[in-house]
Amino acid sequence: MKKVYSNKLHLIIFLLPALLLFCGVLIAPIGASFYYSLFDWSGFGAQKTFLGLSNYKELFTSDSINFMKALGNSLLLAALSVFLQLPLALGLALTLGKKIKGERAFLSVYFMPVLISTVVIGQLWLKIYNPDYGILNVFLRSIGLENLTRIWLGKKETALGAAFVPILWQYVGYHMLLLYAGVKSIPAELREAAMLDGASDGKVNRYIVLPYIKPILRISVIFAVTGSLKSFDLIYVLTNGGPLHATEVPSTLMISMLFLRNRYGMGSTIAVMLIVLCFAFALLISAIFREEG
């Protein structure tokens, strides 16, 4: 047995495809992105000019790129996700986790938006927000709130908020499902014992459930934050960063650097920043959760 499983040639055969695929598409490109980020490069055939780190300097200081605005927007999305979306998801998960009637039906409906393509959701919400015929303004007009109607995605003040709503709508179900799975994995005796001791629902949640599902909460927070940093699909479909960069996020900025301005070096710089930020936030959030015991 040992001999069969120690053969180095077999090991290589079994492992090589995964290694090639993984390194070729994920690991090597990180290095390549960093390498490109050191150059001024307008794409294929063009000469690369070595710049050192000045792309990074320009990224953080240039007003025309305004990376800080894009980063700020994505951090705002992250904050909204953590403080609005997650509590809502947690509330639903705790409620459904109590063996409520219709539990399965509620759960399945709440999770459904996760499965719909983001392009479909984006296009659908574009229609909902349509200033003339969209269901939102039509509804407001029909109940006499004409003055509340807006060009939701077209005005600087409302665009980011309006773009966040479909994000919330789509992903509450995802976080709810993860947290619900955690709630369901709590041994029934633990809950019953607390109830017998006279603990109220709120106390059971506070002292039994929440500490128990903490590892999942950590995962949820990490997903919510890194997901917001990376957010692309819905923003791209709904506003593509506009109006006047009001909803610009790092990903949309990266795409416009690459394919509108042909600045491959700068596009790569944004990509590198995103990788670094995602890892940094994932570590930071893990550390915060560990700190809390």
């Binding site: 079994f14 459904m112 479909v120 296009q123």
Partner: protein, 287 residues
């Protein structure tokens, strides 16, 4: 009635009111989840006159199936559908084959850096796809592989790999090692053990990984948008996006396209909701 009883009654009553409020909340959220989808279904079957004022939220007065035929034929939805299916199926097959082999090496075979290698693969769970956009685009273009199915299949398989290995590791560790031993004694070589013992027992993992991978690539936008520009090779998300640009004023066919892109997933979800939910949980939490 003693003081104690009244208090118990009060508690029970507030319990009841609380319960009613909770149900109202749950039903309301259900409505918020379902209504946009319902609205999409209904306007996919209406003409502009109904959508734009005469009948905004009701069921269609004239069921306009021609919206679907025009999305299908003029809009080429059938083509995008086919492309998405080809890409998804190929991605799933490659991901599964590669992940099962790697997991076998990571859980069964005996070598020194096994744990490190496992951690290495798990890095993929955190790496954003942005990291790959430029380098993969450059490489694909040098290899003349932009505008081919492979331009999507290979990156999709690579980005599904970490999750697939995570899930497969969980399942493969549960297969008792005695099975390998007895197969070995019966004269099976390593290929026999892998193909005849391990792989057949990995069906639940295969289903989980398959479902998860399918949904990831069926809905993926960024790579599909950048690596494919030929209309005949576009996948559903990019195709639908393009269609909406063409039919800005004619909502019916767009609605039909949106429904067509969504319907298969939701249809399967009705029958496999539990399995689909489990695969998402496995992909995020335990494996």
């Amino acid at each position: 009635m003693s003081k104690h009883d009244t208090r118990a009654n009060a508690v029970r009553n507030t319990g009841k009111t609380a319960q009613v409020i909770i149900y109202i909340g749950l039903v309301l959220w259900m409505f918020i989840n379902l209504f946009p989808v319902y609205w999409m279904f209904t306007f996919s079957l209406k003409n502009n006159e109904e959508i734009f004022g005469k009948n905004v939220v009701g069921l269609p007065q004239h069921w306009l199936w021609s919206n679907y035929t025009s999305a299908m034929n003029t809009g080429k939805m059938w083509r995008y559908f086919l492309n998405s299916t080809i890409v998804a199926v190929a991605t799933i097959l490659i991901t599964l084959a590669v992940a099962l082999m790697a997991t076998f090496a990571l859980t069964r075979m005996i070598w020194k850096q096994r744990k490190t290698m496992n951690k290495f693969f798990m890095l993929g769970l955190t790496i954003p796809i942005h990291a790959s956009v430029v380098p993969v685009y450059v490489t694909l273009s040098r290899l003349n592989m932009l505008n081919t199915y492979w331009a999507l299949i290979i990156p999709y398989a690579a980005f599904s790999l970490s999750m697939a290995i995570l899930v497969c590791t969980g399942f493969m560790n549960e297969i008792p090692r005695e099975l390998d031993e007895s197969a070995c004694i019966d004269g099976c070589n390593i290929w026999g053990i892998f193909f005849k013992i391990i792989v057949p027992l990995m069906k639940p993992a295969v289903a989980t990984v398959g479902i998860y991978t399918f949904l990831q690539c069926w809905n993926e936008l960024m790579f599909a948008n950048i690596f494919i520009s030929k209309n005949d090779l576009k996948t559903l998300p990019v195709g639908v996006q393009g269609l909406s640009g063409q039919y800005t004023t004619n909502w019916g066919p767009i609605g039909a396209a949106l429904v067509m892109a969504t319907f298969p997933t939701l249809f399967v979800y009705i029958f496999l909701s539990r399995k689909i939910q489990e695969s998402f949980i496995a992909g995020a939490i335990k494996g």
